[in-house]
Symmetry: C2
Subunit: 359 residues, 2 copies
Amino acid sequence: MRSRRGGAAVSETPELFSEFGFIAGLRQACRPRDAMVDLGIGDDCAVLALGGGRCLLLTTDMLIDRVHFRLGTLSPFELGMKALAVNLSDIAAMGGRPVCWLLAAGLTPGLPADFLAELKRGLFSCAERYGADLVGGDTVIARADLCLSLTVVGESERERLLLRSGAREGDVVFLGRPTGESAAGLRVVLGEAAGVSEETRRILRRAHLEPEPQLELGRLLAQEGLSRAAIDVSDGLLQDLGHICEESGLGAEIDEAAVPLSEPLRRFAAATGGSALDLALSGGEDYALLFCVPPESAGRCRERCRERLGLEVYPIGRMCARKGLWLRSGTGLREVAPRGYDAFREGLTEETPAEADRG
Amino acid sequence: MRSRRGGAAVSETPELFSEFGFIAGLRQACRPRDAMVDLGIGDDCAVLALGGGRCLLLTTDMLIDRVHFRLGTLSPFELGMKALAVNLSDIAAMGGRPVCWLLAAGLTPGLPADFLAELKRGLFSCAERYGADLVGGDTVIARADLCLSLTVVGESERERLLLRSGAREGDVVFLGRPTGESAAGLRVVLGEAAGVSEETRRILRRAHLEPEPQLELGRLLAQEGLSRAAIDVSDGLLQDLGHICEESGLGAEIDEAAVPLSEPLRRFAAATGGSALDLALSGGEDYALLFCVPPESAGRCRERCRERLGLEVYPIGRMCARKGLWLRSGTGLREVAPRGYDAFREGLTEETPAEADRG
């Protein structure tokens, strides 16, 4: 249960989400009682025990026009791809493999047929690529804003699950790929990237609109027992690391110099006068996996990722007993707030007549 | 995959739902390939094989303000109850037991805290009553209309499932309780029930706003092997029977005189000058089970429902080889169209400023 991507809006109505605690309240109100329910609210997916050590993973997300995206700034193909990809990323974060998905779509009457065809093509391209069958859903009319709600089902082995609560003191914190590009890509999409080259804009835009769920990485970590704790970076590296800290009852120390900064991100930061590191630490929607590896397995983990996936993973810090998030730089160690993505989303959620957005 | 309850809007944009065939297109585009997927789009739930003869049921529905309900005409408690109940009804229609559910909620910023508390109370009252654990979800901001998308997970035995495709020629068609009250209740809710007594209005309103999923009936039919085919009446008796006919490759003959008409429905019809039979045949959202029983088991089925559940079930006709829906009355046999609920919903979907609806 999370409120991410409702980003800016959260600060708009704090009493609704925070003080009233719709989310926290639900979590408390619903301690699972059914024998099949192994894990309820609180991780990337819920877990149902299937017997024989197998388990089923369940995750759901809702995306609404003018809140999570803006029609006209992305193609319907991109919207379809992303809507499914972000849900698949939750399966990746648990170390599972995707099985199937359900689609609830609220479609506004004015949408042209080719828009729907492209939306469908985007959804199915993603489903095809990652091997998830559409098995059901509900298609209804929405009067104001296009709304997509997806539920994805995955499968894994109970003993191999990557859990937010699975980190141990001393674990090395790894990042599955550099972060920050998606947040920069959102700026590109919103037209806030003056001075950034066409080529860099293209790369960043794509990072934002076609994020790849790291399913193969999640599977490798789970199947080879390399990690017991992971999350996908949706709110921002620090904020999501904060979730692992909270659920594992630990703190984390990040080495600033070890945080990978991609070339396109550096170029974006140089051109716009921002900080690439800030974007990497607090930008959201990267859907990179952030995972914890016991120190004795850290070397082998990097090797196996290279060998099996041709993937470079980045050790960026360690889990520690001292609560809080700590950033180590040349000048020492300082505590940082688990800053999230919210600030970056304000451009998306300002009030704009819906009609002006229709591409 | 269905478009019910997007009712009136379907006729508004036929090209979107029908000609373009978003739904039919999805069904064709996604023949399941994953070994776990036993049944994809086309029944009340998707079915995942768990091994050992067990299976998991999955269903999702989306409800949007000003399309499926109208804030101000129902309490947030009733909205919560109904949103979960209609999904549980899909589990009932397969003969399953509920396990858990996920909630994706798009909440508009203006909603007061007590509205949300009541919405939550409605959802959890229903979950408690029928034994389903909330295991996850997503809570986001919606700019225009409150939107709830629920996914419910159930469990059953693969060989005991009640399927739309499970009817056989000669099967007796049963109704789990009288229909039509919900459609009459919608008229009450919309203020179109002049001359109807307060007591009758109360009963009909409740039938519309607090429909009970027939989970115990579905379980009994499945566990005792009394039926192999069922659906819940969401679109209307004739239309939903049409779905069984279509999936089973049969027709059905209904005996007009056998269709049960409740006293409140008769009183409503008498007061408003409408036809109780029309409401019973074409009204929707009753969430009564409509099921097919082999003729040799029909007597035992009625007995078991009385003994085990204290429930009267109603034989209303038979499945026949001749395709189509046939209505037998004093004057003979005539073919009828699988008329649905759409016409009744027009009052709900006319354009109204959202603010005026907030109760």
